[in-house]
Symmetry: C2
Subunit: 413 residues, 2 copies
């Protein structure tokens, strides 16, 4: 939910108005009684979904480093690749279970007894069981019908529960599965005490309204927790996670920078950017946000990618303001053009003044930063000089500073 | 809307099932009578919003190249920086208006008579007028009250209309503006015949449900077109654009790769990735999708950024499949794990088989690509060899091919 127009002045920290979460206009309040936007848990899947990213190859040391950093950051769960994937995957899972991290360790397995046994042998806190339920997958992947799926689900869940281990049961490609089939299956596994059911937009097709509708319907059918998993093929993975929480989902799957199959899933940082706007205190109390950039850089290095220029929070320009009209207002009051306080993530803002879109307020601020004194009229004359120069060629900060200083010298003369 | 489970078999083109837009389950059909998901127009703002991107400096030749490419691509409108920004901005606007492009040329000006006069002098097809209406901006930016805003809006709109030019009136920071103020203002400008009103999430705070609610409410208040503009600070710019169209908006602002203030706005490619899923025929009939990558590369080069690894459609891994279970199904039927047909955008898919997550179906397909013959059992043995190797170190395709060939040689011996 959007923060309200300033009511209580600023809180003194970096100029951002408080409280952010209260609401002022009708469309700004969605206070649904089932909403979990202020009460959700993160299942961090960089070491499972993220390992399916084209460029990902995590050796044991890297896995341990990432898992440790994520646990320290505050994510509630860390999900790893199935021990059935390869012998090394199994060794790595055992190693991470043995670290005694604060986060619970999960692994993600196919819905069969061998995979479940292998998972439990490794010492996990929980097992995430998955099977494809769409007719696409039933026809072209595993070839099983719904009766078979339900039977094996129950067998596997009962087995895992009998070992005292947390268990989630998820469909795959949930948004292209038959609704009645899906609800029947979830109802059956809820009845035998599954801890969570999972809804997965495996192909990244769902829209926020579809997510809201399905999760809200499911919320009325099961009493267990609801985990959700959103791919980003159509750019909705963050919005869908938010819609799921509004509808009563309890757990969101993320990966660092969103890495995963194809173009990935809900990114950890992007989710927190979304959630902090409406749930500032919840998010800041649970997660060490100032560590986000370090974790993103660690993963980016491990999979040899650059952090996208437009990444939420940590993209190089996430808090850069350029147009004169924006710079002016930001200098007066940051929350005019910033919905997130960069300081919450240990980041800082930057007013870009070396361009033809600059305004005299931005230049005035730079003049003051340089310790120079000018009247407003002088700054306005200086500003048109800078805009003229910027019309001719790109200006670096140094260039602009030189123009400012030379103009100031001329004034003295 | 998600495509349905296969009903009519495949259509023969790249293995994707048809029809994509029909619906199969209750939460897959949102057939609202006001929805414009099958009837929207794009206002491409790379040369206005995009010029506010930290790294953007477009010289005249680059602006002409980008405008020409966008018009050829099929966008309905191209928006340029205000001629009031600098003398060169004015010259560039005149130059582009003189090109005779198919797309209509707009410029984006402050709500005052001087800016409006300047715009019209340049020969634009339409003027996009904007003023901040949130109490944040009224207090910290321009300092004007709502009565003053409405008075100047009416004066400026009447003037532009008197010149026979299309005019849009937009609030800025609409989602933190008072709803009653906002609706009164829009109603007043609609009454004097404005062509479009604009809703802008200037700070990137809005959620899809808030967007849906505000646009749906507005749709009942004005009879003119509704343009929407979404910043991406909280990762919802694509989802919000979709929600706006569902609620009856008619025009979406985009920029190439989403470049703009801070981390930008709804990206052109990302919007089309979202829209093609539910509105395949509309999108493919209007836009030359195969040109998308070329335009993105052109803009990325001009502003010196890399296309994000996870960019929808054109990111390097957007159609790469890695996990064995995915690869197997994709080889059977692409729509199992692909909601977008890469061929629609002139792209192709890639099955990643050189990893420990590979499955024997992916290896079998590679064996066949290499022109070798093996039984399924032999491929399965080969697959475990490759998974073992991939546990030890990252495998390039060449490495995997060598393992396959050497295994095949051993079989012959």
């Amino acid at each position: 939910m959007c923060p309200p127009p300033t009511q209580n002045g600023t809180n003194g920290t970096n100029g951002h108005a408080k409280p952010r979460a209260a609401a002022a206009a009708p469309y700004q309040t969605v206070q649904d009684f089932l909403s979990n936007t202020n009460n959700f848990k993160i299942i961090e899947s960089t070491l499972r979904e993220g390992e399916q990213f084209a460029n990902a190859y995590f050796d044991t040391a890297t896995k341990i480093k990432i898992a440790t950093a994520l646990s320290d950051f505050g994510v509630e769960y860390i999900e790893l690749t199935s021990p059935a994937a390869s012998p090394q995957s199994m060794e790595d899972l055992k190693a991470i279970c043995g670290l005694g991290l604060k986060a619970k360790i999960l692994t993600h397995v196919r819905c069969n007894m061998e995979d479940a046994r292998l998972a439990i042998e490794c010492g996990v806190d929980g097992v995430d069981v998955v099977i494809g339920t769409s007719s696409f997958l039933r026809e072209h992947s595993h070839g099983k019908d719904m009766a078979y799926i339900q039977k094996s689900a129950i067998e596997v869940i009962n087995y895992i529960k009998s070992k005292g281990i947390e268990v989630r049961f998820s469909s795959e490609d949930s948004f292209r599965s038959d609704l009645v089939d899906l609800l029947s299956l979830y109802k059956a596994v809820d009845a035998i005490g599954v801890n969570r059911v999972g809804v997965a937009d495996t192909v990244g097709c769902a829209t926020p309204r579809q997510v809201f509708d399905l999760v809200r319907t499911l919320r009325g059918v099961v009493s267990c927790d609801i985990e959700t998993h959103f791919h980003n093929d159509t750019g909705c993975a963050i919005a869908n996670a938010h819609a799921a929480l509004e509808a009563g989902a309890t757990h969101i799957d993320t990966s660092v920078l969103g890495i995963g199959e194809r173009n990935g899933i809900t990114p950890l940082g992007g989710l927190l950017a979304r959630m902090i706007v409406g749930s500032h205190d919840y998010v800041t109390s649970r997660y060490k946000l100032a560590k986000l950039k370090e974790i993103e850089d660690m993963v980016a290095e491990a999979v040899e990618i650059n952090v996208p220029f437009n990444n939420p929070i940590t993209g190089f320009c996430a808090f850069t303001h350029k147009a004169g009209i924006h710079a002016k207002a930001i200098l007066n009051e940051p929350s005019t053009y910033e919905i997130i306080n960069p300081a919450d993530f240990g980041m800082s803002r930057y007013i870009h003044f070396a361009s033809r879109l600059t305004g005299w307020n931005a230049i005035k601020s730079r003049v003051e930063q340089l310790g120079l004194t000018m009247t407003d009229d002088q700054v306005k004359t200086l500003t048109s000089k800078i805009k003229q120069m910027a019309d001719i060629r790109p200006l670096a900060i140094d260039d602009t500073d030189s123009i400012i200083r030379s103009f100031h010298l001329d004034l003295q003369a």
